[in-house]
């Protein structure tokens, strides 16, 4: 993974929400960003007029005069692009005119309208940073035949500096025919008072292939909810990974609809629940077309006094045949006070289907821990390594990557 994101992340999480934001911070960030040699080739610094960056509006939240910045930097042939709150922030040699409407509360990105070479070998990374405007709606249209080698990042940060207490960020993603894309969406809440009700709606056109990674971290125990809807057309393939960490009072509704023939859905979810987290998730997979496949795995680790309720179901419609579907959920109890309820369900309206479901709950056995300790690893590290082993099947390395970026998020077992 590109190390650029480390800098960006730290920068954003540390400074971006300060009410008295100092442009010099951004300048120092950019300097360190460059000095550390993380940019593979010479990028924007030569061209960017930093003096054009300024804090233009303090009334609600941090805002920059991006238009001015962009106007003064008509660059050509950019291999690197970052979109931040609807604006290009950094770019190199970009040969594109962009019209951005900052006054609109919702953002619409039609990636097809950005006439740079997406297929260029020089395209190193592409980010959508949806930070300070996390309560906005984000529409992203991925064009047909779009292939992105690197991940598309959609990062959402919530902080006390924001004046709002309730956020309803919505992401609408339309992925065009024959496109192939990896998406990383994160919701990171540093605030003690914010309530987040997020929703993500994915629409996969025919033969689209999407790998979707969702990372959610809460520093403080606040009620959050996330609704996910996906709609898959013929021959589309959706691989969904999500991980939730930290303190959570979470309610989630995930609905995945397989409307097109030969659509394939694969979902792996990992949860690491600590303290008095309360996690509640309903996950439904609807097979509404024949010859569709789905594979769902949910794994949860219950620490302390955490509670988890998971209900997963496979629904097969009437007259829908030749289905191959599997639903499995596993729990790992690490505390006597923790509580895990896993309910796998099948709702099938005809005979010609192959569906399986199952649930297991267990604990870490002393014999495993002793075996590892006999090699010199401390008990606490053994537990961490074993949890990592349990969850690693479910959590994409991209998601783990986010967890090691911030000291608050870091968990020992992610280092292995």
């Amino acid at each position: 993974m590109d190390k650029n994101i480390v800098f960006l992340y730290k920068f954003l999480s540390n400074y971006f929400f300060c009410k008295n934001f100092d442009v010099s911070l951004l300048k120092s960030f950019i300097s360190s960003y460059s000095e550390n040699g993380f940019l593979k080739d010479k990028v924007f610094l030569d061209r960017v007029d930093l003096s054009s960056l300024k804090l233009s509006d303090k009334c609600n939240n941090v805002n920059y005069d991006y238009l001015r910045y962009l106007d003064s930097n008509k660059l050509k042939h950019s291999p690197k692009i970052i979109l931040l709150n609807g604006c290009y922030l950094f770019s190199e040699n970009i040969n594109v005119d962009i019209s951005i409407n900052n006054s609109d509360s919702n953002f619409f990105y039609d990636l097809d309208s950005l006439n740079f070479k997406f297929h260029s070998d020089n395209l190193n990374f592409f980010y959508l940073l949806n930070s300070v405007l996390a309560f906005k709606h984000l529409f992203v249209k991925i064009p047909d035949n779009f292939v992105l080698k690197e991940n598309l990042y959609i990062l959402n940060f919530y902080d006390e500096a924001l004046s709002e207490f309730m956020f309803h960020p919505s992401l609408f993603l339309n992925i065009g025919k024959n496109s192939n894309i990896n998406i990383v969406e994160s919701h990171i809440n540093f605030s003690k008072k914010n309530f987040i009700n997020a929703s993500s709606i994915l629409h996969l056109e025919s033969s689209a292939k999407v790998s979707y990674n969702l990372f959610n971290y809460c520093k403080f125990p606040l009620l959050n909810s996330h609704s996910i809807f996906s709609f898959q057309n013929d021959c589309s393939n959706l691989s969904f990974r999500d991980g939730f960490f930290g303190k959570h009072f979470f309610k989630g509704f995930y609905n995945f609809y397989l409307y097109g023939r030969n659509a394939i859905f694969d979902k792996k979810s990992g949860r690491d629940l600590k303290y008095d987290s309360n996690f509640n998730l309903d996950c439904n997979i609807f097979h509404y077309a024949s010859n569709t496949k789905s594979n769902t795995l949910f794994r949860v680790v219950g620490h302390d006094a955490s509670k988890c309720f998971y209900r997963g179901s496979i629904v097969v419609g009437i007259d829908i045949t030749v289905i191959d579907s599997d639903l499995k959920c596993d729990g790992l109890l690490l505390s006597e006070l923790s509580n895990i309820v896993l309910i796998p369900e099948l709702c099938i309206d005809n005979d010609d289907v192959k569906c399986s479901h199952g649930a297991t709950i267990g604990c870490l056995y002393d014999r495993f821990i002793f075996y590892m300790m006999s090699r010199g690893i401390s008990k606490s590290e053994c537990v961490c390594i074993l949890i990592n082993g349990f969850l690693s099947k479910c959590i994409d390395k991209n998601i783990l990557f986010f967890s090691i970026l911030n000291d608050d998020v870091i968990e020992n077992y992610y280092i292995y």
């Binding site: 002393d366 014999r367 495993f368 002793f370 075996y371 590892m372 300790m373 006999s374 090699r375 010199g376 690893i377 401390s378 008990k379 590290e381 390594i385 074993l386 990592n388 082993g389 349990f390 690693s392 099947k393 292995y416």
Partner: protein, 249 residues
């Protein structure tokens, strides 16, 4: 042998649920010595091995074990390992989800941390592993498989020896290392063990068979019965047992 004993077990008694497994067992092992313990099934050989590496929570124990001037009962299993005792398990455990590479790196780093060294360099670490894997005839893909998961009996034992080589302990306890190994594997394994003990490491081999004596020169053979050592001799004692059975003791 005139070496100073650095493992001294005296009057060790181990009880589990009112059943006496080890009874006032005494054993001294010096630096660089190779000891073999033989005995019928169920006399407490493996229990002795487990107690030596700190797996004693389920037992009632009395007696003393002094290792390199440390009281072993005051140390946890990881501390015992860090001080240089290694147990090759009779039945190595399978740990799903944890790759061999991650596992090896974790315990090597744990040891380096104990030695106040920084984390191991990946390239150096891989080179080191590959060197040992070549000697043990282990394929590289083995590194990325889960620890012992789906391994054959022989592969598990080789894995144990690989771990031993990576940790470079002072005292190695091999609990039935020869069970589950074919002739060629046994040769590979003991080739490693022989080169390993040349560095003045001590060895305690628990076995039922004398065939290992074809591959390694041992200093002492102990016969265990009813939870204690009833006879000690040289390798000829093992051959006597092989020929006449345990009835002679």
């Amino acid at each position: 042998m005139t070496f100073k004993s650095f493992l001294d077990i005296s009057n060790l008694s181990v009880q589990l649920d009112k059943k006496l497994i080890l009874s006032k067992l005494n054993l001294k092992i010096g630096l660089g010595e190779i000891h073999v313990i033989m005995g019928p099934n169920g006399v407490g050989k493996s229990t002795l091995a487990k107690v030596l590496v700190g797996n004693n929570s389920e037992y009632s124990i009395s007696g003393n074990i002094i290792y390199d001037s440390f009281d072993l009962f005051s140390l946890s299993p990881d501390e015992i390992s860090l001080k240089g005792i290694f147990l090759s398990f009779q039945h190595p455990l399978e740990i799903p989800g944890l790759s061999n590479f991650q596992f090896f790196k974790s315990f090597v780093n744990a040891k380096r941390k104990y030695q106040k060294l920084g984390p191991v360099d990946n390239k150096e670490f891989l080179d080191n592993i590959r060197k040992f894997m070549k000697i043990l005839n282990i394929h590289e893909e083995f590194l990325y498989r889960s620890v012992n998961e789906g391994f054959s009996g022989g592969e598990k034992k080789r894995n144990e020896i690989l771990q031993m080589l990576l940790l470079d302990p002072k005292l190695v306890i091999l609990d039935e290392i020869d069970s589950g190994l074919d002739v060629d594997s046994l040769k590979d394994v003991f080739k490693c063990i022989c080169s390993f003990v040349k560095n003045n490491n001590s060895l305690l081999i628990i076995t039922h068979y004398t065939r290992i004596l074809d591959y390694i020169d041992v200093d002492f053979v102990h016969i265990m019965n009813n939870g204690c050592i009833v006879k000690t001799g040289d390798k000829s004692l093992a051959y006597d047992i092989n020929e006449k059975g345990y009835s002679i003791v």
